[in-house]
Every structure is written in structure tokens, then in C-alpha cells.
């Protein structure tokens, strides 16, 4: 069997999600109305981003343990894809917020914390840019990457839950799944998470291969 079955799976799942997301039947909720469809795109993007960042941190740990430059390449590409997903998550989120909360960037702790998280990973890229020596760059940025992930987790999961937030599941609001989603929506929502994560891995794999080719050409 060839190794590309998961790419086909990603394409299948995402086509299913896009079709169902745009055409499927969704429950009518006050305020949310049709915008509830965004739950198939906005939420899985964030789930996928956190998975990608976790993988990136794991590869940084692996680099520190065995010192193979390949692991560092994988770590930086995972971080890159995660930043891309984060930006897309912000874009879909602000579209959604524009219709349900009245403005594209409400002053909400979750939004602000995510913006800070993005700054953290952009700083990671800047840090990488300021070294010439490969081994040195790899080791120091791996240290920062692990450190940043450890701060990112409380920033995303703890701080917004303590203050008043517009997001479901935060600041005493009930989580989204409790009242708003029916079992039909779950049939699309859970595959969407897997599909977007697979897409992220695919993008990352392409980036890693580009970097490997470039490294081989330089040598």
C-alpha cells in the first residue's frame, strides 16, 4: 500500500466538510442563525493549530535529545503551519464575530491572548533569523520553542477561563456543544478536526521537503 493514503483521506474529509458545511441542515439558533456553520471551520482550525504547536514542541525536545538537524527543520515547519492556521482562525473568527457580536475584534480575553500567542511564535521566527550558525540556531530556538509552548498553554486555556469572555466555555459560559450542536452537526464537526489536522501535516511535510532540497542544493 502506498504511504499517501492519509492525503487522500484529508481531501475526502475536507470535501465532505465543505459540502456539508455549506449545504447541510443546521439547527436554527437565535443570534447565531446560519453563521453556526462557521463552527466547522473556525473551531477545527484552532484545534489543528494547537496540535501542530504541540508537535513542533515535541520535535524541539527530540532535537535537544539527539541533535539531528532534521528534527529542527520539522519543528520550524510545524510552527510555520501553526501560525498560518492561527491567522486563518483569526480571520474566520472575526468574520463570525462581526455578525454575532457586532464588531470584528471585540475586546475579548481569548482574542487578545491568542494575539499574544501569535506574537510569541513570530518572535520565535525572528530569533531564528538572528543566528548564522545552523547548530547554534537550532539549539537556541529549540529551547525557546519549548519555553514558549509551556507559556502558550496557560495563556490559551487558563487566562480566558478566569475572566469574562464572549467565547463559549469561558468565563462561566456553557461550552458550545452543550446546547447548540445536535448530533448531525457532530457528524461533520469531529471529522473536520481530523481533516484540518491532516491538511496541516500535509502542508508541513511539503515545507520540510522544500527545506531538505534546499539544504542538499547548498551542500
Amino acid at each position: 500500500m502506498n504511504k499517501n493514503w492519509w492525503k487522500a483521506l484529508a481531501v475526502l474529509i475536507l470535501s465532505y466538510v465543505v459540502l456539508k458545511g455549506l449545504l447541510g441542515v443546521v439547527p436554527r439558533q437565535p443570534i447565531l442563525n446560519e453563521s453556526i456553520r462557521n463552527v466547522y471551520f473556525h473551531v477545527p482550525l484552532w484545534f489543528a493549530m494547537i496540535t501542530l504547536l504541540l508537535t513542533s514542541a515535541v520535535y524541539s525536545i527530540r532535537y535537544l535529545r539527539n541533535g539531528r538537524l532534521g528534527d529542527d527543520l520539522v519543528a520550524v515547519e510545524f510552527a510555520n503551519t501553526a501560525i498560518l492556521f492561527g491567522l486563518l482562525g483569526c480571520a474566520t473568527g472575526s468574520l463570525w464575530a462581526n455578525f454575532t457580536w457586532g464588531e470584528p475584534w471585540p475586546n475579548d480575553p481569548k482574542l487578545n491572548c491568542v494575539a499574544v500567542g501569535m506574537l510569541m511564535y513570530l518572535a520565535y521566527l525572528i530569533l531564528r533569523g538572528s543566528f548564522d550558525d545552523e547548530q547554534r540556531r537550532a539549539r537556541i530556538s529549540a529551547v525557546y520553542n519549548i519555553f514558549a509552548f509551556a507559556v502558550f498553554v496557560p495563556l490559551i486555556f487558563i487566562v480566558p477561563r478566569l475572566t469574562d469572555s464572549l467565547h463559549p466555555g469561558n468565563g462561566g459560559n456553557p461550552a458550545f456543544g452543550k446546547y447548540d450542536m445536535d448530533s448531525n452537526m457532530r457528524m461533520v464537526f469531529y471529522p473536520a478536526i481530523i481533516g484540518f489536522t491532516l491538511l496541516g501535516v500535509w502542508i508541513t511535510e511539503l515545507g520540510v521537503r522544500m527545506r531538505r532540497v534546499k539544504m542538499a542544493l547548498d551542500d
Binding site: L64, C113, V116, G117, L119, M120, A123, I126, L127, S130, F131, Q135, R136, R139, I140, A142, V143, Y144, I146, F147, A148, A150, V151, P154, L155, I158, V159, L162, T163
Partner: protein, 224 residues
């Protein structure tokens, strides 16, 4: 065990001696915080007690944040690479980072207390629950020192440490800063102390995470 404690205390002693011998750096930090407080006081052109509590509180923590970044940024650059190599042959990297963190904590506590007393002196002191505010200052100083020491180690390896220090540390310090701001606002308003327990526990947890990570990660950092 006793040997490592001895080594740690020797390293701490070295940090204090070094600071004492280059007193201009220490005096510079003290003057920095006094100057920053005074600049804010004159810029707002405020008489005592005219700032609203939120502005008063936030302004103070921002001053403290910048002081912390400036004070801790120099913890790895003031000694030459050769001498650092010599330390590494004498003690384990864990002890070195721990001694630096402990030293920076002491420095930050002194700076925070000094800053608070001058700030309260010139801008008035609207704090209702002073013991809790002082506790917040200590927690904040410890947290700043713990998380910024490793960042300064990272930044000192790069070519433009000053900019990089700011860029790397602002986002890292933010969760801690938000928590500390919240507790100190509670203390300022004189709310019941049970309101602040959650935040205090979270600050302690973040400190613990950051300390453990510094302990684990620093050995990889110094090798380069």
C-alpha cells in the same frame, strides 16, 4: 546534597560580590526606576491622588516591567565568555541558572519595593490592602525574575541582544503580568482576600512551570 548547596551559595556570593564591585550598574538600576517613576509623575502632571486606581496600578506595573527587562537583560552579558566557560568547568549548569535566578529575584524584590515606596510617595497611595499589595509585588518580582532569566540567556547568544530581549520577553511575561495586575487591582480596591486566591495559585503555578523549564533547558543553552 550539602556540597551542591555549598556550591550554590558560593555562586550566589559571587553574583552579589560582582554587583557590589560594579556599583555603577546597581546604582544605574536604582536610578532607572526612580527616574521612570518621576517621568511618569511629571508627564501626567498629576497632583497626589488624581489618577484613577486603574491608571495608577497599570502605570506602576508597566514601569516595573521595563525595569525588570532592563535589569535582567544584563545578567548574562556582563561577564565575558571566557569567564563563563570557567564557571561551567567548576559548577553544573543547573546551579548556575539557579544562582542567577535567585540573585535576580533578590534584585527584583529590592527594585519593586523601592519603586513602590517612591511611586506611593510622589503619586499618592490609594491602596486599601497594603499587605496583599506587597505580597503581589513579591510574587510579581519572583515571577519576572524566573521567566526573564532564561530569556536573557537566550537573547545573549544572539547578535542584537537588546532588541531580542524585548521581543522575546513581552509575550512570555504577559500571562503573569495580567494575573498580577488582577490581584493588585483587588488589593487596591480592598476586596476580600478570598477573591484573589485563584489568581495567586495560578501565579505560583506559572512560576513553578517557568522555574522547572529553566532548570531543564539551561544545560542545552550554555553548550553553544
Amino acid at each position: 546534597m550539602t556540597k551542591s548547596v555549598q556550591q550554590l551559595s558560593a555562586l550566589m556570593r559571587k553574583e552579589f560580590l560582582l554587583e557590589w564591585r560594579q556599583r555603577y550598574a546597581l546604582n544605574g538600576m536604582l536610578l532607572y526606576i526612580v527616574g521612570a517613576v518621576f517621568v511618569c509623575y511629571l508627564s501626567f502632571n498629576a497632583r497626589r491622588g488624581q489618577l484613577t486606581p486603574i491608571v495608577w496600578n497599570t502605570l506602576f506595573w508597566i514601569i516595573l516591567l521595563f525595569t525588570a527587562i532592563n535589569a535582567i537583560a544584563k545578567s548574562f552579558v556582563q561577564e565575558r565568555a571566557g569567564r563563563q566557560l570557567y564557571y561551567y568547568t567548576l559548577a553544573s549548569p543547573q546551579q548556575i541558572i539557579l544562582s542567577k535566578i535567585l540573585y535576580n529575584m533578590a534584585l527584583m524584590i529590592v527594585l519593586a519595593l523601592l519603586g513602590f515606596s517612591i511611586y506611593a510617595f510622589v503619586l499618592g497611595n490609594p491602596v486599601n490592602d497594603v499587605p496583599l499589595y506587597i505580597l503581589t509585588l513579591l510574587l510579581g518580582a519572583i515571577g519576572f525574575a524566573a521567566s526573564l532569566t532564561l530569556v536573557s540567556g537566550i537573547a545573549s547568544k544572539a547578535e542584537n541582544p537588546a532588541t531580542l530581549m524585548a521581543v522575546l520577553s513581552f509575550p512570555i511575561i504577559l500571562p503573569l503580568l495580567l494575573m498580577v495586575l488582577k490581584i493588585s487591582k483587588n488589593a487596591l480596591d480592598g476586596l476580600d482576600r478570598s477573591v484573589s486566591w485563584n489568581e495567586i495559585i495560578i501565579v505560583l503555578a506559572v512560576d513553578a512551570i517557568v522555574l522547572t523549564l529553566s532548570w531543564l533547558l539551561f544545560p542545552f543553552l550554555w553548550r553553544s
